[in-house]
């Protein structure tokens, strides 16, 4: 994996981060593998789109258009992972009435591969989350919440490894400190573990032990703060092997993924797509099959296909 050759460059435009590929270059399908990451964060029970007279996001969001789009992308792409960075609960009467049941069921129906727990997942207490968990057919990744003395013991995972077309994608989850933003009665005996320490441990397990080709952190820590508070940026700068942090909590709208130099002087990307499901994030990572290294990525939506023949 030290052959990884991760090329820097702008991702704001629709162009692929070329590594010497001229637009006319054509690579055979057999040479490359593309992994398509789709993601959401802070959907906050926004199951119906915003009303058309909404002041901020008229007609935006909604589970049905999101599901249709995901379905279409799955038809176009062979290797799709659909991930959520937490706070699926709270924000509309759907949560007040059904306690998160519908959010879980719809995410399962859309084929989410993994999620993490945001602070609002604790709104109805550990019992409230535990009650809805059977409605999810995907794992919740929560490496820095120690639930051993709670009813959630053994019901979430630190990380999960997905295998796609010969590649291993390791995904782990990080949650925010609950003291101060949730009631003790809600999180009970949950122990909050240092997210950076946990991230270092997780990246080691995923990269060094399991030899993952791609390491993704699903984080509900928040994008960036003016204080020393731990954030996605702090995690990105102080770890070695994370390729992508999919963030949440701060409801940050990033036009394009933020690129941060990690401890290995490689690039770690951070992405977050606002809130309420008004956007669906997408990142494509391209791997050279024979050499195994990650060669390029794009945050464009489809144009990457014009450079690679898949």
């Amino acid at each position: 994996m030290n052959r990884r050759n991760f090329i820097r460059g702008t991702v704001a435009s629709s162009c692929l981060l070329a590594f010497g590929i001229r637009p006319e270059s054509v690579y055979a399908a057999a040479d490359f593998v593309k992994i398509t990451i789709l993601h959401t964060n802070d959907v906050h029970s926004r199951i119906d789109p915003f009303p058309l007279d909404d002041g901020k996001f008229p007609g935006r969001g909604g589970a049905a258009p999101r599901a249709a789009l995901i379905k279409r992308i799955r038809q176009e792409e062979a290797n799709v992972l659909l991930l959520d960075a937490g706070d699926l609960f709270q924000g509309t009467p759907y949560f007040n009435y059904y306690g998160g049941e519908l959010e879980m069921k719809l995410m399962s129906k859309m084929g989410y591969d993994a999620g993490t727990m945001g602070n609002h997942e604790f709104d109805n207490g550990l019992e409230g989350f535990n009650k809805q968990l059977p409605h999810a057919n995907f794992p919740f990744l929560t490496s820095n919440y120690d639930f051993s003395d709670t009813i959630l013991n053994g019901k979430t995972k630190d990380y999960h490894i997905f295998k796609k077309d010969g590649l291993k994608i390791g995904v782990f989850g990080l949650g925010i400190e609950l003291a101060g933003i949730a009631n003790k009665e809600q999180y009970g005996e949950t122990r909050y573990l240092d997210p950076l320490k946990k991230a270092l441990e997780m990246e080691h397990i995923l990269k060094m032990e399991h030899k993952c080709d791609l390491v993704i952190c699903l984080s509900h820590l928040g994008y960036d703060y003016n204080t020393i508070k731990i954030s996605d940026k702090v995690i990105a700068k102080n770890t070695h092997y994370i390729d992508l942090i999919i963030g949440g909590h701060t409801h940050t709208f990033l036009e394009a993924p933020e690129s941060v130099k990690n401890l290995n002087r490689n690039e770690t990307l951070i992405n977050q797509v606002g809130y309420a499901g008004v956007n669906l994030g997408r990142l494509d990572f391209v791997f050279e099959r024979d050499r195994g290294g990650k060669r390029a990525y794009s945050s464009a939506t489809e144009e990457i296909n014009s450079y690679f023949k898949f």
């Binding site: 199951i47 789109p49 249709a68 789009l69 009467p93 007040n96 009631n183």
Partner: protein, 221 residues
Amino acid sequence: MYSINKELPKDSSVLNFYQPYKSKIDSQMNRAVAHTASEIKRGRPEGRLNNLTADGLAFSARNHNIDFDFVHINYKTLRVPLPVGQIKTFKIFELMPFENNLVTVKLKGSDVFELFQYMARLGGDPISGASFKIEKGKATEILIAGEILNFEKSYIVLTNDYLANGGDGASVYLKTIERKNHSVKQRDAFLEYLNQLQSKGTLVNPRLDARIVSDKVIDDE
């Protein structure tokens, strides 16, 4: 990144799947829970919406056999005014969107005094079962159930978990002698009160009754 918007096709299996959930909510959200005589707004030092909600919580708490001496909730928990005429359930969800529960906090008389000073600094908060004056930013003439605040006694305040946890700078609540969390949501308690008014055919028309009088008028934010 894709924008999710109304131009996109909708997945009909998803729409069909959640339609029963939606119908149930829509029918309940569109249920009329009250009729108001005029628009009811929050205000400082005292507001008609403040009095309506604080009195409503007091009413429902008694129905739930919750023991307390007076009610105090935070002004900012009242998010929108109630318009004139028919009020539907969804308006109460807009008024109180958060899942706050009722909490009772027992405080020493001297800490209750501090609590009123906190309210005076803010220019007044929604209360029920108590009254006071604000003079030069200080609370004076504090009466609980019509009687002068006694520093030697302890009092039970009915509030919500947000304030009881010291939210909005109300750290005085953390000095509690005894705290009880009740499994009654603030919003549900208020809805219970409105339902009760509606079942009697009462038009909702709260009054300002000088429970808080200030030497200074504070504009709503």
